[in-house]
Each structure stands twice: as structure tokens, then as C-alpha cells.
Symmetry: C2
Subunit: 276 residues, 2 copies
């Protein structure tokens, strides 16, 4: 029998029905069934199909060692956050997770208390907190990777000079506490000079993310935690273009005066780790 609209999905599923890797079979079956479903619902014209092919091609070709346009696509379509929700179902009081985003990379190890804004200027900010388990027991020696954009809305990896800035790795102290100095983060647009930017424009969606600092926290005996702290009052908290805001991750910036009568912001972010 010829391949046709009615037997198409079954024909493709049959073509690999005998493979032994049950997980791969499940994944590919789901992809094929739902992909065919899109074609059946939408009935794309040849021109629309070619547009889709070219969109995917350009998205792949936009990727390099500093840019991952397919992660960005996954982010703006809510796939990354859906995946995050599924993979991090919390039953207790642990800190909630959110997306990794496309700007994570290795960062220099620093001493607690160091300023991670080496080149970028901005409003001074001190970020601190305590890392505990879900019984409030401090976790010393936890590794915290932190990264953020500056007041210009850019991460270091988005700049031509490739100078590492606004990212660092530090360890929690014996009492579970950590502290680093930085500049106040600002809301910013995701990179819009690629296919994902064009897509957002066509969908009449803004490209902004509310101000935040990324955290990746690891400690022995605990699950790796990927999250952000968001800044209360940001105008994009309700419409983050990657859908990553969780109410429990929003913190107030408190204005303070230091010993030299300099104004700075204080941002407290305690972190509760989930046992393995």
C-alpha cells in the first residue's frame, strides 16, 4: 500500500519498531507522532514548509562557541521551562529552579567577598545568603557559580573583547554563608539579531527578561541547583520572554550606606538545597 495521509505516521513508526533501545524508540515515536500532527493540523504549503526548513537551518547556522540559538528558541517557546518544571518537581521547601539560559560558561574561582564586576561600572550591589539543606542545616563548601548581565544588558560573552566579567565561582563558608559584590543587574533583551529575534518580532512579542542573577549551586550529597534571583519591582517580571520567573525567587533590593558613606544595594538570597 502507498504511503498516504492516513497511514503515514504508522509507516514511519514501523520503520524502526524493532530497535532495542526502548527509550530512543519512545522519544522518536513521540516526536514523529506529534510532528505529523502539526502537519495534519496546519496543512502547510510547500512555501511554508521551505520557510520552516530555512528557519531551522539559519537557527543552526547562528550557533557558535558563544551563541546557542536553538537553546534560545527552546527558551522563548517555553520548552526549557517546561522541561525545568518536569525535571525539578519539588515536594518540600527547597529553592525553586529556573532555566540555565545560553550564557553559562566556566568562570574564575574567587574568594568570598570579592567584587565580580572587574570592568563593568554600575550601581554597587552586595549579594549574600546562607546555603542550607531543607532542615535549615548550613552547607559549607558548596560551590556557587554566579553570572549576570551588566547595566548595558549584556553578558561578557556577548562582547567582542571576550574579557571575563560579572561571572565567578565561590565556595560557601563554614557557616554556609556566601557573599559577593557586583553591580545591580538590569532587565535586558535576549539576542535579537538572529532567527529567534525575527520570530519574536513576527509574534509581536518583546524580547526582554527581567533583571536577575544566575546561580548554579553544587554540594556533595545534594542535587545540582540551577536558578536565578529576580529583582522585585522589575517591569518585565510578569512577561519574561522565556517564562522563567517564579514568585519564590523574587527578592527586594535594599538601599544601604557603607562605612565610606557610599550608597549600595543589598540583595539577600538564601538557598535551600535538595538532598540527592
Amino acid at each position: 500500500m502507498d504511503f498516504n495521509e492516513n497511514n503515514a505516521t504508522e509507516a514511519v513508526l514501523n520503520s524502526f519498531s524493532k530497535i532495542k533501545d526502548e527509550r530512543l524508540k519512545k522519544i522518536m515515536s513521540s516526536i514523529i507522532r506529534n510532528l505529523h500532527q502539526v502537519v495534519k493540523e496546519v496543512e502547510p504549503t510547500e512555501e511554508e514548509w521551505i520557510k520552516a526548513i530555512m528557519f531551522l537551518t539559519k537557527t543552526g547556522q547562528k550557533c557558535d562557541d558563544r551563541r546557542q540559538e536553538f537553546i534560545l528558541l527552546s527558551d522563548v517557546l517555553g520548552v526549557s521551562m517546561l522541561l525545568d518544571s518536569i525535571n525539578n518537581r519539588k515536594s518540600k521547601n527547597e529553592t525553586e529552579t529556573t532555566v540555565l539560559g545560553p550564557f553559562h560558561t566556566t568562570s574564575p574561582m574567587i574568594e568570598n567577598g570579592t567584587n565580580i564586576a572587574n570592568f563593568v561600572k554600575g550601581e554597587n550591589c552586595v549579594v549574600s545568603g546562607i546555603i542550607t539543606d531543607n532542615n535549615n542545616i548550613p552547607i559549607p563548601g558548596a560551590s556557587l557559580e554566579v553570572w549576570q548581565s551588566g547595566p548595558d544588558g549584556l553578558y561578557d560573552v556577548q562582547k567582542e573583547d571576550r574579557v571575563v566579567d560579572l561571572r565567578a565561582t565561590l565556595l560557601s563558608l563554614d557557616d554556609g554563608s556566601y557573599l559577593f559584590r557586583t553591580v545591580k543587574p538590569q532587565y535586558y533583551p535576549i539576542p535579537v539579531d538572529g532567527p529567534v529575534g525575527d520570530l519574536l518580532k513576527n509574534l509581536d512579542r518583546h524580547p526582554y527578561r527581567p533583571a536577575h542573577i544566575h546561580f548554579m549551586v553544587k554540594a556533595k550529597g545534594f542535587k545540582d541547583l540551577i536558578t536565578h534571583v529576580f529583582i522585585d519591582g522589575d517591569k518585565y517580571l510578569e512577561s519574561d520572554t522565556v517564562f522563567a520567573v517564579k514568585q519564590s525567587l523574587i527578592r527586594k533590593l535594599e538601599k544601604n550606606i557603607d562605612e565610606n558613606k557610599q550608597e549600595y544595594f543589598k540583595l539577600n538570597f538564601d538557598i535551600i538545597m535538595e538532598k540527592n
Copy 2:
């Protein structure tokens, strides 16, 4: 309310619910609903998600002016043929359609009767037929683009020297007939040195297509026709890796002897065009 497993799809759909382009809204809504459905069914791990991201990235990066890996992916997942079925529902006796494939490109205009195998050697083959409408009225001056692989299984564009061969454009004569000489086509594997080849390997699927010659026929007042003629008896007719075989497109090769006592194959393929 936070973005979560239950409201994820709705949240993403809401983000562009006000756009005026109803067609784009329908397409993107279908893609997002079904893409989220895959994530919910499969519950991918972070590692599996990164694998998918890297697969798509590599697929895009494999594309260049001679290679379209995303079309190849669409082909092996049955999407291209499903699209073909949907866009070419025939009610009458017109010649059935099949996939364009990734090897179509511009070709030199030739006189009827010319040999299109200028460099490639093989068993001689004469391909001919009559182009008519669905009332058997001949169509003169129809443009036929034909292209095929040689006995080595390769199309000209797959070879380093970039010499045009085994592809041509010719016009049907006043009686609607056409004829060109060539070499007998052979079954061949689709290109397997990229992500799609790896996927087929993982799915334990062979990469072969049964022997065929591509046709793209255009005539004033008629719909463009994209199809193949397949060779009867080919061992891959039942398992074409791109699902493109239709019974009505299979023809027998007939052995003949020419005036110089040279053996050749005769392949007859009449074509019925659909009115616009």
C-alpha cells in the same frame, strides 16, 4: 501564577494571542502545543534535551549550497511525503506526486533525444513518454526537468568536481512526446555522513532509496508536477528510506537492441498533468 507543567502551553500561546496574522498564529499554536506534548510524553532529561539541541544545531551546520540536511531529516521522518500527500490530493487520473528531494538544482536545456549522461558511464537507457492532460490531449511545449544518480549512486552535486551531469531540461514536442537518453539509475543511500545518517543508524534503518529518475514538469495552465519514475523489481521499493514510492509510479525496464546491435533499456513514463 508561576509557569508550571499545567499552564505552560497556555502561557506560551497567550504570549502571542493578539497577533493579527491568523495563519502564523495557527501554525505557531500547533507547533507549540505539539512540541509541549512531546516534552510531556517523553519527560526528557537535561542530557536528552541537550542531545536534541546539539542534533538540531549540527543538522543546521551541515547545510550548505549543495546539502540541505533539514530537508533530508524531513524526508526520513516521513514529513516531506505527508506534506506531499496533503498538498496533492488527486481526484482523477493525474500522475501522482512524490518528494522533491535535496538534489534538485538548475540544469542545462537540451534538445529532445539528447543523452544526459555526458560523463558518467553505465547501461544505456532511453526514457520516453507522452505528456497529456487528464482527457488524453497531448501537451506540447511542457518543460521537463529530469535528474538522477548514476550507477555509483551519486548525483553530480555530490561529487567534488561539480561537473553538471545526469540532469537536464527539455520540452515536449508537438505531439506531447519527450525522449532522452541516459544510463540506468541505481538504488543508492541518502548521504549518511551527517546527523541524519547517524539518526538512521541509531534507528537501525537502512539509508537506501530504490532506483528512480526525478521529474519536475511544468506546463501553462497546469499545476507543477514533482514526481519520480521508479524501476520495477528494485529491492528497496518496499522500504524506501524516505517513504516516497507509489505503486502507480513504478515502470518496467524493457531490454532492447538498437540498430547497431547494442543492448539498451527502454523506460516508458507517460505523464498526466492536472489543470490549474
